[in-house]
């Protein structure tokens, strides 16, 4: 599933990042890589989200959030 479809308050694991090159690099430097847990803090209807990753809160637009493939983390 895509991060943009995430449910508020749930933690997901990053599977794949497929966004524009420049943004991929930026996300990488922020430590958003395969296997990293991402907590969805807030989400708007269209998929713009606020996530918490590695102790940092990030707001991501739909375009980026939908380019991040995630799976549900085992409880």
């Amino acid at each position: 599933m895509k991060l943009s479809d995430g449910v508020m308050g749930k933690t997901y694991l990053v599977v794949r990042v497929e966004v524009a090159e420049r943004i991929t690099r930026r996300l990488e430097a922020l430590g958003i890589n395969e296997g990293i847990p991402v907590l969805v803090m807030n989400r708007k209807k269209n998929g713009t989200v606020i996530i918490k990753v590695r102790g940092t809160w990030l707001a991501l637009g739909t375009k980026i959030a939908s380019g991040i493939e995630v799976k549900e983390a085992a409880e």
Binding site: V19, A20, E21, R22, I23, R25, R26, L27, E28, A29, L30, G31, N33, E34, G35, I36, M41, N42, R43, K44, K45, N46, T48, I50, R54, G55, T56, W57, L58, A59, L60, G61, T62, K63, I64
Partner: protein, 664 residues
């Protein structure tokens, strides 16, 4: 005395306070140039510490040391090519985890690194603690110095560490990767040594080769297909972060409790439904403060100015200064510059409120909250703020576009912001609406604000259709934890903006005021007896045919509009001078001006076309200067001015022609 010069590179993430710290050392003693071959600014300065001369270089703000962006390549090259003796890594202590990622990479260079822990005050305000003894232990024994660039604390300690550490030489290895990676690194390092002899930082080069870094791959090609079989970049990043997690666990305390309150607040402030109304509510309060309290104080400023220009005239007259000089000083400089200064209370209050929102951490959320609304016209969520500020004054509004991440968004925002009706335009609306629209004056004035917003939206929409910006809805912004704003930080923020504003009043507006005064008081034969035979009047008459289709074919109107380029409110004072009306805001004065205009066939339709023109045409010289400074491009600036003039003209023509058809 040591004659040796130590070259120190300042490296850090964007917005970590790097440049502020750099400036604290170098002051105005700066050499600003571009890095060779690119348009990234390079700043260099000097500092002295106990007989050592230090050459300080401010490297571009970066998040990592890959070769994907110009900034990163520039920084990397500078450090790699032995130019830098000591790296000062400035770290925003309030977001230690993310900042340490760059630190980990810098440490791999095996050059002396000194860690400057900036923004410790914020860490304390948030109730967090950093163990500054354990931290250096975990970073290979490099010196860790808490500093405050803003409060100028720890500056000498940092230089001491730089000099000391320089003499001491490099530190030990910090991040040890998992066995697989380490084994590969060992093989690559060995191959490097075999093929290239002594490489100054073999481990770093080996890591980059494992990451399949393009530049390093070209510099040190190796034939090791079984070792360098694929990019290990992601694994290396993850392992660095794993180590950072260890560091943070050991050295940073109370992080969760600080986070909990922010997360609680964000449940409301960034709520998908309440978020927007809360933001609009906050805006309403900011506006209320700016315009009611600001205008209240502005009244006193105006009284002060009147008193000042009156007594200045008496004093100058008393000591026998010639009339032309008195006129230059009082009508030209004091009226022009002083008129701008009276807006100071509004500006100070506006920026106090903004500084409060910014420093509390709320401002970053606005981009998230407004993202969709702005995105629908192709603007970034962050562009909302500059546009709102535009109601106050275009100059700080354009300055606020600095907060946007990329140049294209920034320019698009600069393009639409001037259409937001600034407070300097209000006096024009009030005057003309009262003269021509009687009891509908308020509605007429209000309608102009609405037209301004509509034009801004329309322009943004059309621009987005013609030149769509890539990566639509590519919002990517870090949200800091909420905190109580720091009075000192707020003060600095406001002061910087006020200083900018005052500098402008003292330079651009000063010069323009003198120039306009000259235009209106002189002609080819020297001093003009009357405005109607001045340079300004000649110029105005040239413009009359052009303005005629817009119903503005009077030379006085043309001159007033021309003068309005120095500052919009000057349109009002120019009308007073041009039509020789003594007290233009009194009802007698208005009647007089109305009669004078009416005699030239200037009716309500002309007046509305005039107001629309005033709304849309180039705000003022200060705004032009600001657009140039913020865009770093004269070409862009000139284009904007021409666009604004053309749009204003077209809109005024439309209003006048349509209005004449309907009412004429």
């Amino acid at each position: 005395m040591s004659e040796q010069v130590i070259t120190v590179g300042f490296v850090g993430n964007p917005n970590c306070g790097k440049t502020t710290l750099f400036n604290a050392y170098t002051g105005a003693n700066l050499k600003v140039a571009n890095w060779p071959g690119v348009t990234v600014e390079r700043m260099e300065g000097a500092a002295y510490y106990k007989g050592h001369k230090l050459r300080l270089i401010d490297l571009p703000g970066i998040y990592s040391l890959t070769s994907y962006s110009i900034e990163e390549r520039v920084a990397r090259k500078c450090i790699m090519e032995e130019e830098i003796d000591v790296i000062v890594n400035i770290v925003d202590a309030s977001s230690l985890e993310r900042n340490l990622y760059l630190t980990m990479q810098l440490l791999e260079f095996r050059k002396p690194v000194v860690l400057a822990l900036n923004m410790m005050d914020i860490v304390q305000e948030r109730g967090m603690e950093i163990d500054t003894h354990r931290l250096p232990e975990m970073l290979g024994g490099i010196p860790v110095v808490p500093v405050s660039a803003r409060k100028r604390m720890g500056l000498d300690v940092l230089l001491h560490a730089v000099v000391h550490h320089y003499e001491e030489g490099p530190h030990e290895k910090v991040v040890t990767y998992t066995k697989g990676i380490e084994a590969k690194l060992e093989k690559v390092e060995k191959a490097l040594a075999d093929r290239y002899g002594e490489v100054s930082n073999p481990r770093w080069v080996a890591i980059k080769l494992l990451e399949q870094d393009e530049e390093i791959g070209k510099l040190y090609p190796l034939d090791l297909p079984d070792v360098l079989d694929k990019s290990y970049e992601k694994r290396i990043i993850n392992e660095k972060y794993a180590y950072i997690e260890e560091v943070v666990d050991e050295c940073l305390f109370n992080r969760e409790s600080a986070a909990a309150s922010t997360e609680k607040a964000d449940r409301y402030l960034t709520h998908r439904i309440f978020g927007i109304p809360i933001f609009l509510g906050i805006l309403a309060v900011v506006f209320f403060l700016t315009f009611t309290v600001g205008d209240f104080l502005k009244g006193y400023f105006e009284m002060g100015l009147e008193w000042f220009s009156g007594s200045l005239m008496n004093v100058l007259g008393g000591i026998g200064v010639s009339d032309w000089l008195i006129s230059l000083v009082v009508d030209g400089i004091v009226a022009g510059v002083g008129g701008i200064l009276t807006f100071l209370p509004n500006i100070v209050i506006l920026f106090l409120a903004l500084a409060f929102l910014e420093d509390s951490g709320y401002m970053a959320r606005v981009a998230y909250v407004m993202n969709e609304v702005m995105g629908s016209v192709g603007l970034s969520g962050k562009a909302f703020l500059p546009m709102i500020l535009g109601f106050g004054c275009t100059v700080p509004a354009i300055m606020a576009s600095r907060g946007l991440e990329n140049e294209k968004d920034r320019r698009r925002t600069m393009m639409v912001t001037p259409f937001m009706s600034c407070s300097a335009r209000l006096p024009i609306y009030v005057l003309f609406a009262h003269i021509f629209f009687g009891k509908y004056a308020m509605i007429a004035a209000y309608s102009l604000y609405v037209i301004g917003v509509l034009v801004a939206i329309l322009v943004a929409k059309i621009a987005n259709k013609l030149y769509p910006l890539p990566e639509e809805n590519a919002l990517l912004i870090e949200l800091p934890a909420y905190k109580m704003p720091n009075p000192h930080t707020v003060f600095i923020y406001v002061w910087e903006k006020v200083k900018d504003y005052l500098t402008k009043a003292g330079t651009v507006i000063f010069v323009v005021s003198i120039f306009l005064w000259f235009l209106l008081n002189y002609n080819l034969h020297g001093p003009a007896e009357d405005v109607s035979v001045s340079f300004g009047a000649y110029l105005g008459r040239i413009l009359v045919p052009l303005l005629k289709p817009a119903g503005l074919g009077m030379w006085q109107i043309a001159v007033a509009l021309l003068c309005g380029l120095s500052a919009k409110e000057v349109v009002v004072s120019s009308c007073a001078v041009l039509f020789a009306v003594s007290n233009i805001n009194s009802s007698a004065g208005m009647a007089e001006l109305g009669a004078a205009l009416g005699a030239g066939g200037f009716g309500p339709v002309n007046a509305y076309a005039f107001l629309v023109f005033c709304l849309l045409y180039t705000p003022c010289a200060a705004a032009i200067g600001t657009i140039q400074r913020e865009s770093h491009s004269w070409k862009f600036t000139v284009k904007q001015v021409l666009f604004q003039l053309a749009l204003a003209w077209a809109a005024a023509v439309l209003v006048f022609q349509a209005g004449s058809l309907i009412f004429g």
